[in-house]
């Protein structure tokens, strides 16, 4: 059978022991619970990871004690058209740079920043990184986008924890889903179909997902 080459592009990070994580968060560990080298019939591993490991979706519960949990978010948020926008600003995403893009209600926007070119080369948490400014977050909420994705661990800045939290809260309170830690290295700006449905973690604050896109 002739097999067509896949058009899907994997924008997820590989998950492995010691992979990059937030500066105060425990890293992923992997334990082999069945090992053929020790006489077991199969290989079986066990993962210990935070709910924000690798490419993942933040639920409102992460910031709001009564907020919606990851398993209660609508599935279609994570399936459908998405736009990759390349950000030239090397500091942060600001409203001025977004203006020409004519962002519309219901869009899923993935920001390809300078981060994608280097941040994932190391397992160390890297600063500075390009983030979404408070003003740009407010603009995206006002535009009523459906989902915002970024190519590092957090959508918000690193200078103060308050600003970082504010950006998350603006999105989550504004009904905008947050996709963090996508890798857009080598991805051309433009229109894609996105698949990034998170694991069904019961009543948790976030969950990892396999995020893939293909051109449309």
């Amino acid at each position: 059978m002739v097999k067509a080459k896949s058009e899907w592009i994997d924008i997820s990070l590989p998950i492995y022991e010691g992979m990059v994580g937030g500066p105060n968060d425990p890293r992923v560990t992997v334990r082999l619970v069945r090992d053929p080298a020790k006489g077991d019939a199969v290989t079986m591993s066990q993962l210990t990871m935070i709910s924000h490991t690798g490419t993942h979706i933040d639920a409102p519960r992460h910031f709001f004690v009564d907020g919606t949990t990851i398993d209660a978010l609508p599935l279609e948020t994570f399936i459908g058209p998405a736009r990759v926008i390349e950000i030239k600003d090397t500091d942060s995403i600001k409203p001025a740079e977004l203006e020409p893009y004519n962002i519309r209600a219901g869009e899923r926007i993935l920001f390809k920043t300078k981060n994608s070119s280097h941040v994932y080369d190391s397992d160390k948490f890297t600063t500075p990184y390009v983030y979404i400014s408070n003003e740009a977050a407010q603009l995206l909420v006002d535009k009523k986008v459906q989902l915002v994705g970024i190519d590092y661990i957090t959508v918000g800045g690193y200078a103060t924890r308050e600003d970082n939290r504010l950006v998350h809260k603006l999105f989550l309170n504004g009904g905008v889903s947050i996709l963090e830690e996508v890798n857009l290295k080598g991805v051309k700006p433009g229109n894609y179909e996105l698949l990034a449905v998170p694991l069904r973690f019961h009543k948790l604050d976030a969950a990892p997902c396999r995020a893939i896109i293909r051109p449309i």
Binding site: S6, P14, Y16, M44, Q46, L47, L75, L199
Partner: protein, 214 residues
């Protein structure tokens, strides 16, 4: 917004959820807790990579073979057929012969398991799974993927048969999806989305499995 027509056939993942009798259970730990003064809620999850709805990679049975992160993405996205199995004991080729099974098909077997097995603490026996001869029949049909509503695809005849059935599928390049819940799902043609987590060199990985009618 239009009502979603996606059907979630994944199991919810939670501490102490159903698993194999000898496998470690899923554990949740609250790492950051607003009730204790933390600004956010953050959890840590410990789980076997075969916890909940998941994909088995060849590495699960064949040391040195492909990990779950090396499987082609297209395997897990596209047309699928839900086949309702009437046989109360096993999935046998005699029952499958009546169906139009095509090369490249993704087959999800809805057995009597779906009506009851997910309610307990451990996966019960007896259960319905695919016999060795049915697995060989499906290899002959050149299907792309097989899914079942139990923690394992095989073992109806014996414990050894369970190993054999896995090896028959994985050796033939047929992906295995286990622990889908097809309760309430009508037999027929669907679109499937069930791409596993990108667990590097993993012998398996959990996935969020969704279907919608086509």
């Amino acid at each position: 917004m239009a009502k979603s027509n996606w059907i979630d056939i994944s199991l919810p993942i939670y501490a102490g959820m159903i698993g194999g009798p000898k496998d470690p259970r899923v554990e949740f730990k609250l790492l950051r807790d607003p009730a204790k003064g933390d600004p956010v809620t953050m959890s840590q999850v410990t789980m076997s990579c075969h916890s909940g709805t998941h994909i088995d990679a060849p590495l699960h049975f064949f040391p040195g073979s492909a990990g779950v992160d090396e499987l082609p993405l297209d395997t897990f996205i596209g047309p699928a057929q839900v086949i309702e199995i009437k046989d109360p004991d096993a999935v046998k080729s005699a029952e499958l012969k009546d169906y139009d099974i095509r090369p490249g098909d993704r087959l999800l077997f809805k057995t009597k398991n779906s009506s009851w097995v997910f309610d307990g603490e451990f996966f019960p026996t007896p259960y319905i799974s695919i016999t060795i001869e049915a697995a060989q029949f499906l290899v002959g049909k050149k299907i792309k993927m097989v899914g079942i509503d139990y923690i394992t695809v095989g073992g109806s005849e014996s414990r050894e048969a369970n190993m054999t059935v896995h090896k028959i599928f994985l050796d033939a390049g047929i992906a295995i999806m286990e622990e889908v819940n097809l309760k309430g799902v009508k037999p027929g043609r669907y679109e499937l989305n069930a791409v596993p987590l990108r667990f590097r060199k993993g012998d398996a990985a959990p996935c969020r499995a969704l279907i919608r009618p086509v």
